[in-house]
Symmetry: C2
Subunit: 348 residues, 2 copies
Amino acid sequence: MNIHAKRIKDLQQMLKRDKLDAIVVTRTLDVGFLTGYYMDDYMLLVSRSAAWAFVSQMLLEDFKAKVPFVEPVVYGGAIEEAVLETRKKARLGKTVFDPEYETYNRGTFWRRNGFAELGGLVGSLRAIKEGEEVEDLRKSCRIAARAFGVIKPRVKTGRTELSVYRELEDIMQSMGAKGPSFNLIIGFGPHSALPHHVTSERRLRNNETVLIDYGCVYNNYCSDITRTWFHGRPGEEFRKVYSIVAASQKAGLAKVKAGVNSRAVDKACRDVISDAGYGQYFIHGTGHGIGLEIHEFPRVNTRADVTLRAGMAVTVEPGIYLPGRFGVRIEDSVLVTRTGREILTKTA
Amino acid sequence: MNIHAKRIKDLQQMLKRDKLDAIVVTRTLDVGFLTGYYMDDYMLLVSRSAAWAFVSQMLLEDFKAKVPFVEPVVYGGAIEEAVLETRKKARLGKTVFDPEYETYNRGTFWRRNGFAELGGLVGSLRAIKEGEEVEDLRKSCRIAARAFGVIKPRVKTGRTELSVYRELEDIMQSMGAKGPSFNLIIGFGPHSALPHHVTSERRLRNNETVLIDYGCVYNNYCSDITRTWFHGRPGEEFRKVYSIVAASQKAGLAKVKAGVNSRAVDKACRDVISDAGYGQYFIHGTGHGIGLEIHEFPRVNTRADVTLRAGMAVTVEPGIYLPGRFGVRIEDSVLVTRTGREILTKTA
């Protein structure tokens, strides 16, 4: 069976399990995950035994050719009215929408028409990578990891952050990526101390830190990796901070395994940095899920309370940031396996 | 005054005009428009006389340096609770949120805490381009237009759609663009008949249609342009359809002017195509606003009812699509002026 047809079946199983009659799916990425057809302005209604896609006339031919396992319903006026009509015709009872992503206006419309709120159904399917998507994610991560070996020797004194940004994109595209998976962060010197630095025209000088946080999209799947190094001769403090972050990341990675709570991964990273006296400079969570989005379920931080399962993919990315001076972050994308983990962004 | 500080002042004027005390702004692009600082996971509360940004510890230093005209409030727990607390301390009364973009969950939270729904305030500010953003938009469009002259002679028999996609991106980046403004549509042969075709590995053959719908992002501003041509010797039907679409687009462009309803632009395009007997093959709206987003307010279609104003920027992009055979679309990005229009994507 086609992987997408299987996902719709999986969702239908969840409807049965949760005693629901139907779900309306409106997020572009969720709809694309279930059909393989990524496009704005269309949506799905999935019942226990059927699935309808509400598409404009403009998409119809293409949709029919590419998604033969979902019945298209062409709408002329408001797409939401077409959903209501099909729901009525099919005599569907309890129907849910995801209140975490639906807009307030549309959610209110669904509520007025008797729909209920229930988040996370499609999200929990998306969290477990399987079949060809594991291969796509591996490939996406492998491209990012290989690109590191190419770009690193080219980061030389006088180059701007943005020129590195563009070259890194080109390198990944030449290796088959569609494009970058987010606004890549290239930070030189004190810019490395800003976890969300916006890549700028600043030029690299001798003897300063280089931090590159990047990734690509391959067949819709996002990779994420960060490497930090010293351009020149590192002083004692850089070497110390770097080794603490490296030990922290190693400790976090070692925790990743099916059955472990994501908080335990965060704690493993945080403890190493705190014990070394730099706790106040680790100012963000340890990681996040990756997949169709660069940030998705599950989060890996002090508040997250998610049991890792085989097939989940997350980042582990502790950091220490000394304002106005320099920062070090080391990040890998990892796949959770039954017995441990597969590091997807290994670099030489 | 800094353009962003001015925009916050403009928004504060709207609050006074509409007898509101405050607005919470949560969309990344809206927040970025008002501050110049584009980042996820932070939000603004703007009252008639003050503005607060709710930022994580991680963003604080960078935010203070870049947005000195907005007061940062660091949140530790839920960002929404921090907004409520500041609103209470400042004794703000009627506070609104945008129900068109806020999520159902968060909108419900605001409602429970006495906020009201009001859409379009920031959207209407964003619709009128002024100052440096006009320059950014012009530059973005100029890059796209210049790239056409470079790519067209390189589209040769045997090349894949995706290879053209990647080269077009590279060309625009080499001219200063950050990246593409959307998933560029490169369609060869029958693929040109699919308005939302997903660029593929298909190779160009002799004697078929080439349609390229593309644009770039320059300083956050998006351009959009479509060109269609025949690779080889066009037959009579292609020439006929092309000249109808060209006449339709010319008629639409001629209508663009401050004070004109956007529907009149759509009608001008549609009439030419209908009169020529191809009405059923023009299966989408005529255009859309462009700016920080590739699709934004106002829309230009049969249902839109918006009076164009000087400073708005829209696309005019009629098309005729003959399923399984070929399609022709011609699109330009235009700036509405008091006396008419400035075509931003003129090609030789």
